[in-house]
C-alpha cells in the first residue's frame, strides 16, 4: 500500500500542478486543490493502467476512486490483485 501511494505521489509531483515541497493528506481532494484537471486525470489513469497492468472500467472513474491519494491507492490495490 505504502509503496503504491509513494509511487502515485511521485507521479503527481512530476506530472501535475502539485508543488514539489507541498504535502497533501491522503484524503485531500486532488481536483479541488487544483492538483489535477480533467486532462491530468486521464493521463494519470493511463499511467496507472500501464504501470500496474490493470484495466479500469469507466464506471469506476469516479471521485471516490480518483479524487484522493487514498482512493487511488485503494483502487489499485483492489484491481491489481
Amino acid at each position: 500500500m505504502e509503496q503504491i501511494k509513494n509511487d502515485i505521489l511521485d507521479y503527481l509531483k512530476n506530472n501535475s500542478f502539485m508543488e514539489r515541497e507541498k504535502t497533501i493528506d491522503d484524503s485531500d481532494s486532488l481536483t479541488q486543490n487544483g492538483i489535477l484537471d480533467s486532462i491530468g486525470l486521464l493521463e494519470l489513469i493511463d499511467y496507472i493502467c500501464e504501470r500496474y497492468s490493470i484495466e479500469i472500467p469507466e464506471d469506476m472513474l469516479t471521485p471516490e476512486n480518483f479524487d484522493s491519494l487514498r482512493g487511488i491507492t485503494n483502487l489499485i490495490t483492489r484491481l491489481a490483485k
Binding site: 486532462i39 469507466e58 464506471d59 471521485p63
Partner: protein, 492 residues
Amino acid sequence: MRIDAYILEHARKTPHQIALEEGKRSISYSCLDEDINIVASSLSDFDHCKFAILAESGIQYIKILMAVYRSGNIAIPLPIELPGLSLERILDSACINNIIATKKLYSRFGDGFFERFGTVIVVSDNTAVEALSKRVILERNDPELRLVLYTSGTTGTPKGVMLSDKNLVSNARSITEVLSLTSKDKAALVISPHHAFGNSIINSHIMAGSSISIGTMNFIGPVFSLIESGVSIFYGVPSTYRILLKYPERFKKAFTNVRTAASAGGAMDRVIVRAIKEFSPNTEILPMYGQTEATARLAYLPSEDVDEFIDTIGKAIPGVTLDVFDSENWPLEPGITGELVAKGDNILLGYLNDDAATEKIIIDGWLHTGDLAQKLQGGYIRLLGRKDDLIKVGDHRVNPREVEKEIEMNNEVSNVFVVPVSHELMGNAISLMVIPNQETDVEKIFAFCRKNLPGYLYPREILFIDHLPLSENGKISNRSIIEEYQHVKASM
C-alpha cells in the same frame, strides 16, 4: 426583458417543471425563482453596481447570477480555473468593490483574498445569505451593462466583454431557434458556465423553460451517468468530445437518447464527427461558431450539411448578418480572403475600461472578429486562420506573445517562444523553446508555469535553442516559431 424574467414566467406557468439538476439534487422553476429572490433581496441597497461572482459550476452559481440580474446589478463571473494572480489582475482592471461567493469557495480562497472588497456576501448550500461586510459605493457604469465576461486575462491585460440584456436575450433567442429548444429538452452543462459558451447554454434553456443538468468533466463515470439521466442535448467543446470518445462502449450507451450533440469553442474535425456518427447514428451533430464579443454565437452548421461542409462555420444564426471585409472595410466577393465581420443585437457594448480596444473591434457597428475568412456560394463561410497571432490551446483563445512575456519577465531566460503542438485530447497544447542564459533552470520554468498559468498552458516540453526563430524577412511569427520547432525536433 431580462434573462431572469423568463424564470419568473416559467415559475408561474410551469412551477413544478425541473429547472436545474446537480448530482442528486434538483430544483423546480418555482423554487429557483424563490431562491433568486432571497439572494437578490440582499443586494437591494445597490443600484447598478458591479458584483464579482466567485462560485463553482452548479445550481448555486446560477442562482447567484440570476439574483445579480434581478436586483438590477452587473454580474462579473470570475473564471475560477485561473490561478489567483490572474484573478487579481482581473479584479484590479475592473475596479470591483463587491463580491458574492459560495461558502465553499470563500473558505478555499481564504479571508485574505476578500480584504480588497468593500462588500462581501457569502451564500451557503441551503441559500442562507450572509453579508460579511457591506459598503455601498455609487458607480457610474454603462446604463445598458448587465454582464462582463472575460475572454483573456490569464496573462497580459484582461479583456472584459461588456454585454447588455438585449445582447443576452437576442443571442439566447437565436440559439433556441437554431436548436429548436422546447420545455421538454434537458441540457447537459459540463463545461465552465463562467465563459460565453456555458453562459449561453444557461440562457437559452432558461428561455425555453427546459431543464439543465450540471456537472463537470473531471470524472468520466459521473459524466456518462449525467448524460444517461435523460439528456436530450449535449454541449461540448471539441476536447470534451475527444475525452468522451476515449470510451466508445460507454459513449454508445450514453448517447443513444441524445438528440443533438452541439459544439462550439473550436473547430470540430472529421475524426470527431465520424466517431460520433459511428457510435450514435441517431444523434444529430450541430457545430456552432462564435466568440464572447458576440455574447456567444454567430454561426452554425445545419446538421444535414455536416458531412460536406465540416471545414466551414456554416451560416449566420437568425438575427445576425455576417460578411467578409477587406482592409478598408468594403465587402469582398465570395472566394476572396478578408476579415469576418458581424452585425446583430448580440454584438458587445465594448470592453470594460478599454475604449481604445473597443474602437478597434467595433467599426461602424460591425464587430471585427479577427478571423480571416472567405464567403462560399450559398452563404456558407470558411475560416482561414487569424489576422493576429492568437492560437487555440485546449479550446481556449490564447495570445502566445503575452504568455512568452509573462514567462520571460519572471524567469532567468533570454527569450521564450510558445509553440502550439498537437495533443490527443486538447487539440493543441503548447511546448516552449527557450534561449537560455547562464542562470536558466528548466525545473524552475516548469514550476513557474505550474503555479502561475492555467492547466492547459502547462508546457509539454521545454527545448533550448541558441538563436531567434526568424523568418526569411527577419520577423518572428507563429509560423517562423513552428518552423524552427520542426527543425529542432528533426535534428534531435
